[in-house]
């Protein structure tokens, strides 16, 4: 187990370097960010040249990358164009997005898995059909439609929530945005669980468990659900990274100043430091989440061993 974890951690290094390099190159291909700094007019050449030197943009890309990576290892992610440290931006953005992601994941787990179990055990019954149809609707409607609709209905028409989340972005403000963010994944979790449960229901070990006279609840939770959860856990694990990076739409609709907002601003203003810094952290989140998923397999199914 220990050796497996170390091997996985070592594998992270090339993925990490490759991903940051790609992002770095892509942002650089977009052109000279200084051109957009002076609004609808041309920066005066002397100031532009100075800004370029200060931001290190006059050096070749590989050198910029090397300097950048060197700084990153000392915890210095550079400075955004408005004079703020990127680490400072991260300090305000990540907690908000993590809270949002937690809300979304909880929705996925609680609602998704319960619905999945419910429908998996009652395949073909009206409950099953209804839930299947509902998930189909959720999957096919884009997030921004659900988001704007809920915002309009709950926020403006009925006044149940505030349409825009405040700066503090507390958990209770994030319920609706979290639900919107989770919606599509939630539908997938339901469907995955349902199929998995339905398949395993006829497995020998379940029949044995029932034959032993175990209580139904114990059979379902201990035997059936545990084995059926492997694909679901995989999905939810990879979804953590996806939710954090993909929250741009939800964050824009509900005015959440999280990672998505900072990335969006960074890309619009072609701020290499912000974009690369945030993406670097997101890559790390992805990698760690995947590692955790792999380790969870062993917990769920003892036959899976890492040597």
């Amino acid at each position: 187990m220990g050796r497996y974890v170390i091997r996985r951690l070592l594998q992270m290094i090339p993925v990490f370097i490759g991903a940051t390099l790609l992002i770095f190159l892509m942002v650089n291909v977009m052109g000279d960010p200084v051109a957009g700094l002076c609004g609808d007019r041309q920066c005066d050449p002397a100031t532009a040249a100075r800004l370029r030197t200060d931001l290190g943009l006059d050096k070749p890309v590989w050198q910029q990358y090397a300097t950048y990576m060197g700084n990153v290892f000392t915890g210095d992610f550079g400075t955004a164009f408005n004079g703020q440290k990127v680490t400072e931006l991260m300090g305000t953005a990540f907690p908000v997005t993590i809270r949002l992601t937690v809300v979304a994941i909880v929705f996925e787990i609680v609602i998704g898995i319960s619905l999945g179990v419910l429908t998996g055990l009652r395949r073909g019954r009206p409950v099953d059909t209804t839930v299947l149809l509902l998930t189909l609707v959720v999957i096919s409607v884009p997030t921004f439609v659900t988001g704007l609709l809920l915002q309009l209905l709950l926020g403006v028409e009925w006044g149940v929530i505030k349409p825009a989340v405040s700066t503090e972005a507390t958990f209770d403000e994030l319920i609706v945005p979290g639900l919107v963010l989770a919606s599509v994944s939630l539908a997938y979790v339901t469907r995955l669980t349902r199929t998995s449960i339905a398949e395993n229901r006829r497995a020998d070990y379940v029949r044995t468990a029932i034959a032993k006279g175990l209580p139904r609840r114990r059979v379902i939770i201990r035997h059936l659900l545990r084995n059926s959860l492997i694909p679901v856990v995989t999905f939810i694990g990879t979804d953590i990274g996806g939710l954090m990076g993909g929250a741009i739409v939800t964050e824009r609709i509900f005015n959440i100043h999280g990672v998505g907002f900072q990335l969006y601003q960074g890309i619009l203003r072609q701020n290499t430091q912000t974009v690369v810094g945030f993406v670097t952290i997101l890559v790390l989140v992805f990698l760690v989440a995947n590692l955790l998923v792999d380790l969870l397999y062993a917990v769920l199914d003892p036959r899976i061993r890492y040597v």
Binding site: M30, G31, P33, D40, V156, P163, H257, Q270
Partner: protein
């Protein structure tokens, strides 16, 4: 061990859901913090994240400018209604030759930290703004002052740190020497780059940036970068335009649609950028609480005169033809819901007749005449390459809609459905990049928001040879000569006349196609009253009253 894992997950999930539902749901009541209405009421207004650090000489966009306008007062201030430059901190500004100016600062003014405002406060601030070392993006505003090229050379290192044209002659007096005649120069002093700065700005710069200190009707109470700034009324403000409310909370919105939704839900008092998609609903949502006054903004199409294809002897005919092929009225009516006005000159109605706005100066060249357009384009040798590509940036400002409409109009007029297409660029930065590197191949959008309400500001920076914002690199000797003469003219009425003659040259050569004047667009809640937009389309915050 394994069981425990499950239990933990479940417990965690249940706890979070319970906590969430227990405290969720509320939030429909409670009109936000701030405490009470009346003179102590706080206005909740939408804001955008400023792009640059908030320094007077470094702020060149509306969002940062908005704050500086509340926190700073300069020698002059533009009247929020008429746009006329009026003395604010200036007791008098005298000149005999339009080159040397004697400035006296009023007594009794202080910064909000108690420091006295003297002539030195201005001179230090201007020297800082002009100095190349400080990377100030508005440095060129000091370009007319003598010694600028030493402090801010076009390339290489600066050989001086102070402008030789600035001299402090007393506690409240200083003199300015310009490097050329510029009779209306005092009227540019209302621009925020010319604001005075306190000593703490130079001593403890970082601290100052995190909480700017100025001399305006408001002080910064707290500033959370990227999310909110709370400004509060400054009780000891000596000016006549004291704040009529207790303060302003500026909230950064990720999207102006969300801000608008928040306004309709009653969680926000003022939105100064109603999104185009909501213009249809705005009348029914807000009624009289929607403002749409003219602003000092004009949209034009510039041509790449550095490209041979567009710089032909008969090119003026083609350009004029294109201009006549655009149905301005139809586009402003349908796409912009009448929030823009078809342009008939190259300035803006906010200047007023006396200030140089001349309705109809463009004449028939700005009218929709499809037959004539077709004829002119043909006479001029046809469209370069057989097709016009209109460049714009696709990321902000919904430019695609109107560019497509303009192209449609041109295609219809020229009877050729391939005559014009839009040519989008992904980001604004890249769009600016292509422009500065002279890579544009066809006409491209060139919006202009005035810095100060002078006809000079609508012409010189945009069309004078090699001027800072002459994106199309248009150049005309006659035009340059008339601008120089106008600047040297001490009599304002005569100067305006000269500027308009220059504008006539621009029209005859069709150096750029004038499209439409843009209006400000703001909506407010029933909580506040006395809301207006100034000619820069920024709300006059200090005059807002809270119920």
């Amino acid at each position: 061990m394994r069981g425990a894992t499950h239990a933990k997950w479940a417990a965690c999930a249940v706890a979070v859901t319970l906590a969430a539902t227990a405290c969720g749901g509320g939030g429909d009541s409670g009109g936000g913090g701030g405490g009470g209405g009346g003179a102590n009421g706080v206005v909740r207004s939408s804001w955008g994240d400023p792009q640059n650090p908030l320094e007077p000489a470094n702020t060149n966009e509306v969002q940062g400018g908005k704050v500086l306008d509340m926190v700073f007062r300069g020698l002059k201030r533009y009247d929020p209604k008429t746009g006329k430059a009026k003395d604010m901190l200036a007791e008098k500004i005298d000149t005999k030759d339009s080159t040397n100016f004697d400035i006296t600062v009023k007594s009794g003014w202080t910064f909000s930290n108690g420091e006295k405002i003297t002539a030195q406060s201005f001179v230090d601030a201007w020297n800082y703004g002009a100095n190349l070392k400080n990377d100030q993006k508005n440095a060129y505003f000091f370009g007319q002052i003598d010694g600028y090229e030493k402090v801010h050379p076009e390339s290489g290192k600066a050989s001086a740190t102070k402008l030789s044209g600035l001299k402090v002659t007393g506690e409240r007096t200083f003199t300015v020497k310009l490097n050329q005649k510029f009779s209306t120069w005092p009227e540019t002093l209302g621009y925020v780059a010319f604001a005075p700065l306190p000593k703490s700005f130079f001593k403890d710069h970082d601290n100052w940036l995190s909480k700017p200190i100025g001399n305006g009707p408001y002080t910064v109470q707290s500033y959370a970068k990227g999310s909110q700034m709370s400004l509060r009324k400054w009780g000891k403000y000596p000016g006549s335009d004291k704040a009529q409310n207790g303060g302003v909370d500026l909230k950064v919105y990720t999207d102006n649609n969300t801000a608008y939704t928040d306004l309709t839900a009653g969680n926000l008092d003022l939105v100064d950028d109603v999104p185009a998609s909501q213009l249809k609903n705005v009348k029914s949502d807000l009624g009289d609480r929607y403002l749409n006054p003219p602003a000092g903004i004009i949209q034009t199409l510039a041509f790449p005169f550095y490209s041979k294809a567009w710089n032909t002897p008969d090119g003026a005919k083609v350009r004029k033809g294109l201009s006549m092929a655009i149905n301005r009225k139809q586009i402003t009516d349908t796409i912009f819901q009448k929030t823009r006005t078809p342009a008939s000159d190259w300035t803006s109605p906010v200047l007023g007749e006396d200030g140089g706005f001349k309705k109809g100066l463009c004449g028939e060249a700005c009218e929709y005449k499809p037959d004539e357009a077709k004829k002119l384009v043909k006479e001029g040798g046809g469209l370069p390459g057989g097709q016009v590509k209109i460049g714009y940036n696709a990321d902000t400002g919904s430019h695609k809609e109107w560019v497509d409409a303009v192209c449609n109009s041109i295609n219809n007029a020229l009877d050729n459905d391939r005559a014009c297409v839009g040519d989008p660029t992904g980001t604004f930065a890249d769009f600016r990049n292509k422009i500065t590197q002279k890579k544009m191949t066809g006409p491209f959008r060139a919006g202009w928001q005035m810095d100060y309400p002078l006809i000079q500001n609508f012409l010189q920076p945009l069309y004078y040879t090699n001027a800072s914002s002459n994106d199309g690199k248009w150049t005309n000797k006659q035009f340059d000569k008339l601008i120089d003469q106008a600047n040297a003219e001490a009599d304002t009425a005569k100067a305006v006349e000269k500027f308009q003659q220059a504008e006539g040259v621009l029209r005859d050569q069709m150096g750029a196609i004038a499209l439409w004047y843009q209006n400000g667009s703001a909506g407010y809640s029933e909580q506040i009253s006395n809301v207006s937009l100034n000619p820069f389309s920024v709300p006059v915050y200090s005059q807002i009253k809270v119920k």
